[in-house]
Symmetry: C2
Subunit: 346 residues, 2 copies
């Protein structure tokens, strides 16, 4: 897993500066495009160009089962993980509809489903069928962790090889808000009561149950949560590890990353803790309704672009934000300057 | 101006109910698409259909000069109004780039520029060259007001005749944040100190100057601000009146309206005060950085979709929100149901 610490370059400050200057020349009040100006400037720096573009978007959705799912921590049965992967393959899920709308490349990757499926558009890249129940055991052994991180790297590598302009990672795994909540409690040293949320739609009582289980798990593994990789191994999931690996490899290859909601942002935090420079390549798409999300965003000092009360996962919130990047690029590249439009501003 | 009070139908609750039921059947946790579900449901009700669509977007940008501009209330000289209209005609402005991106029909309408221009893509529909300085006189006489309201109606009528799915109104007019701020102070009975903002980019001192002028104007006209139409006549601008007329005519013809930023929302508030049922046909695109916007949004009980720190006007914030509607429709129409995907959720 040594590659995780390989260096990550900074986006090019020279091109950031050129883009910032260019924005000031465009026929609009200074700063009046708000976040869209920042997107264009950051993309220009990342792409080392005067004219940033965002046409080729890559969407990898990682799916895996969670041992913790047997503890009644989700509003849905564990079988929904596999069912939804079938739905991805049949192009019926939200992520399919949205990927088609923005003309993104979409792939689903089984990084640890309980069943092994032979389906169109499904990549299988796994070492085991589901994680262990982290209430009793580490969720993964070291080999499983390493394989999942590498599965993420493999996906980002495919995206890099196709010269993608943006990498979006999504996840599917019944039980994974329990896993992510346990991890952020460990990373932020916070009480599960404060950060445990409804996931796919739990009642108040069920949230209490989930919160208590997470508290137990944190107590059980407390001596093994000293590093972010340990947190990921003991409390994580294969799809979350895959996101971590994908994010780090993308950044190492100068591929900008658009981070989705709660689970994805938890993976982003893990990635930053493992290799702090990775954050320079992150954009944050949206604030999810899931309770713990705000705390993770704050820890990352992230300002997400959207706040639409979404909490669906599977990369959906990130894809919804993509047109903002595309419009930001178009505005940056195609608007007239004051000089071109012969406008005197004084 | 009697047509302003003509009745406005409600969106169809039957189709809203069908759409709400349909959303519950789609392969996602209940409510997890957040605002996108609400957009699809509201559009279904407005279009009286099971499958809402949003392909044909109509953008009308109204431009006019303001008498108040001679009082140094803008960071830009008054000539920029005409210059920007030339820029619209040459397709160099933000609204042009954005309209092209979403494939909207775009038109600019001179409803009261100081100059009369003969330019491609520019419609001239005005009675006078600019408004009077509302510090000294009513901004418009009754005929000017009526003409501007009708110019808006004419634009919305063109949109209706082309079977548009969404009407977006934009504005251009140096000085118009002063006019809009004066009107919201009159409508909300608020102190100009509290609501006066930077417009296109004023210094703190210049904002104080602007706020003082607005206070003077409110005092001068205080006996003539009893109705929303009086507020519009005495303190408004032709492009703002055109927005009011356009919004009301659109709603009377069941054409959904997407309201842009501060100026447009002020027009929306005027429209609601004139004909309260119009609000049922409004969507609010974004929260602008302009100081007074939040207060107007709150008065309208509006939750805007975006908050990207934009403050450009000319319909730009509204167009940026359009892909959200399109994705909301696609998700509503194209996602698989649990039944279709054969997913057991219990």
């Amino acid at each position: 897993m040594k590659w995780l610490s390989d260096p990550i370059e900074k986006p090019d400050v020279h091109f950031a500066s050129l883009a910032r200057q260019h924005q000031k020349k465009l026929t609009k009040p200074q700063g009046s495009l708000g976040q869209l100006e920042i997107l264009a400037i950051r993309l220009a720096a990342m792409q080392q160009t005067k004219k940033p573009v965002l046409n080729r978007v890559w969407v990898s959705v990682f799916a895996a089962d969670h041992g913790i799912a047997v503890e009644n921590v989700s509003a849905y049965p564990q079988s929904v993980t596999v069912d939804m992967v079938k739905n991805f393959s049949a192009k019926g899920a939200a992520v399919n509809v949205l990927s088609k709308f923005i003309r993104a490349h979409f792939e689903a990757i089984d990084v640890g489903l309980l069943q092994t499926l032979d389906l169109p558009h499904l990549i299988v890249d796994k070492l085991s069928q589901g994680t262990a129940n982290f209430l009793n055991r580490p969720a993964m052994n070291i080999d499983q962790l390493e394989h999942a991180l590498n599965a993420g790297r493999n996906a980002a590598s495919r995206a890099v090889s196709k010269k993608s302009h943006l990498f979006i990672g999504g996840e599917m795994g019944i039980g994974n808000t329990s896993s992510a909540t346990a991890m952020i409690c460990a990373l932020l040293k916070e009480n599960p009561k404060v950060l445990t949320g409804a996931g796919t739609g739990l009642s108040e009582d069920a949230i209490k149950h989930k919160s208590n289980l997470i508290k137990q798990a944190l107590a059980k593994h407390r001596k093994n949560l000293g590093t972010p990789l340990e947190v990921l191994q003991y409390l994580g999931g294969s799809e979350i590890a895959a996101l971590v690996g994908a994010y780090i490899f993308a950044a190492q290859n100068k591929l900008p990353v658009l981070v989705d909601g709660f689970i994805a942002t938890t993976a982003a935090l893990l990635a930053v803790r493992i290799n702090p420079s990775v954050g320079r390549w992150f954009f944050y798409a949206h604030k999810s309704e899931e309770k713990g999300h705000q705390a993770v965003l704050e820890e990352l000092n992230a300002r997400p672009l959207l706040n639409l009360s979404m909490h669906l996962g599977e990369a959906s919130g990130a894809i919804v934000a993509v047109p903002l990047f595309q419009m930001a690029c178009k505005l940056h590249n195609d608007m007239a300057t004051f000089e071109q439009a012969k406008i005197t501003t004084k």
